[in-house]
Point group: C2
Chain length 349, copies 2
């Protein structure tokens, strides 16, 4: 089953109006979720809408926050999300930081007192649209073991980087510092399938493929090289916690409750670098064109899977989903129909 | 067998004098190599000295380059290494960029026309000594396959991040975006051992554990998650190539020759963020202290291997090596004795 983004947009908008979310905030939240789903990031797109609804209804996320830029000086800015929607704050901050980078060459913005902002890549992508290199980082509550640990400590702390290739395409990197997301464990449980090896641990700290035994995710790199994923995750934690005056992720309330009424006060961190900071734009675009050309000429292991540049799969997926719609599984369908009924919205699938 | 850093320093200095390297450059190269070896990064420390000697002798690296800062404006600087020693240029640039970050909050410096700079972590660490968060990136020539590829394209493109924990300790992350370095393949060949799984590929693009079959490294993450290592590597490539007007790594001459006379013109990229940019230093230090405290309280899988914060192993190694010396294997011993004989230096091991 598939759904077109225009239909999702109308449906979400009606619910958000009921929840008294201001127009601009509704637009930005919907934009962030649909952008993710269109690109194929199903784990962080429209699937999470009902979660945000729950957070707004219960007070974890404020419907009418007083978001504001509380600091802006040379290369640095701080944007206070006032416990509102992380997506809204981060999209606003993306537009601020890219403009700062235009004047200053490089700039960074911290988003404080925020909530879950969806997919990190939405914001590095937004920055890149403004002719900059964009980075986006967020911490989350504890899901991943420290290297050699036997319990959860870091979040899935993602690394995201986007830069323009030409006037319409982007090189886009967005990955979590764990091999898999926790929802893969949940799905393996409901589908009675096994997990891949070295992606999750049991309560003794041993790697397990049994989703019921899994109590924490493992950092990317697995048994031998998990110190790499752990190190990356730690650096993201510092940027989104101590460096910007927020608590580190281990001290955050759990995303999945049971408390849905207390603001979680997450931190996000964005960096923008103007494309013409170090060389001319012309030289930059020639350079990246050459890079993509050389990369695409590389032989692939399997002729049916040509080498893709980072973000190319998302580009292909976007084209397809814009034309044919966003896939919806049974779980999401149930979710949407439940919301439609609850908010008395005429909606069918 | 072990050697004290003071002895190495004197030995290297004598050779570098013979090679007509100016005093300041000798000091900085030696500092970089010894810093790496003391911290335990044996692959990038004093082991590479003879390689640099060869590069200087043959002209790839200029003995007396005219290094200079060719751009400095707000958050951006460009440092031209003029085909001199990458270590020297990057240490000088580290000190420039951290000072810029103090004024501007965040700053970045590109090092252009450079040569191999050793371990990336030396420079993020140098930045962190100046009360900043430091990032250090470099590209290298082709060693790693693109995800799904069957030949080398990216370098081992490292990610390095360092930040102070207190007035003497650092949280320090420094890892390559491949699971292993190429010299592990070389060593497995000489020791007739197998490689770990999913760290290298054969000429058909299949993962191989046979070091003789290995023709390229695999991005970290292996078969299932190698797109993550590949994405990280690609972002590093953009920062060290197109963004700063340098060629991307695939177009660089090979580090290991046969051409040792043509400058390779590598790019490096450093970022510094002042610790008091977003919050007060006091709040930052309280935050990171709490983070380390919480992390150290986590249970480890094996009681003999307590949870270490990133950089803690390097701290322990440093203490040990400062007291007992840097280990030297047979290969390095042979290398040093060869150099001693060649440069007629009274040196024994």
């Amino acid at each position: 089953m598939k759904i077109f983004s225009t239909k999702v947009k109308k449906f979400f908008d009606k619910i958000l109006i009921e929840l008294k979310i201001p127009k601009n905030h509704r637009d930005l939240l919907i934009k962030s979720l649909i952008d993710s789903s269109i690109r194929g990031v199903d784990s962080h797109g429209i699937r999470l809408f009902s979660h945000y609804v729950k957070c707004i209804e219960n007070g974890r996320i404020k419907a009418k926050p007083q978001m504001k830029l509380i600091k802006k000086n040379k290369g640095i800015a701080v944007y206070d999300a006032d416990d509102g929607l992380g997506h809204v704050a981060a999209l606003k901050a993306s537009n601020i930081v890219s403009k700062m980078a235009k004047k200053n060459g490089i700039a960074s913005i911290a988003i404080i007192n925020s909530s879950h902002y969806g997919a990190a890549g939405v914001y590095s992508h937004e920055i890149a649209k403004d002719q900059c290199v964009g980075f986006s980082f967020t911490h989350t509550d504890a899901f991943a073991m420290p290297y050699n640990g036997k319990g959860a400590f870091h979040g899935t702390n993602p690394y995201s980087f986007t830069t323009p290739i030409n006037n319409k395409d982007y090189l886009h990197v967005d990955f979590s510092s764990t091999s898999i997301a926790w929802n893969k464990v949940m799905r393996a449980r409901s589908n009675s399938t096994k997990l891949s090896s070295e992606v999750a641990i049991d309560s003794k700290g041993n790697y397990t493929t049994d989703p019921y035994e899994a109590i924490a995710l493992a950092p990317m790199g697995g048994k031998e090289y998990g110190h790499k994923g752990f190190g990356l995750s730690s650096s993201v934690e510092i940027m989104c916690g101590p460096l910007i005056g927020m608590a580190h992720g281990y001290r955050l309330l759990s995303m999945i409750g049971p408390d849905f009424s207390t603001p979680r006060k997450l931190g996000h961190f964005l960096i923008a670098i103007s494309l013409d900071s170090f060389t001319t734009k012309k030289k930059y675009f020639n350079g990246i064109k050459q890079y993509i050309k050389d990369l695409k000429k590389q032989k692939s292991k399997n002729i049916r899977n040509p080498i893709l540049y980072p973000g190319e799969l998302e580009k292909i997926t976007s084209k397809h989903r814009l034309k044919y719609g966003i896939p919806i599984d049974k779980e999401l369908k149930t979710d949407f129909l439940y919301l439609a009924k609850k908010f008395k919205i005429n909606f069918n699938l």
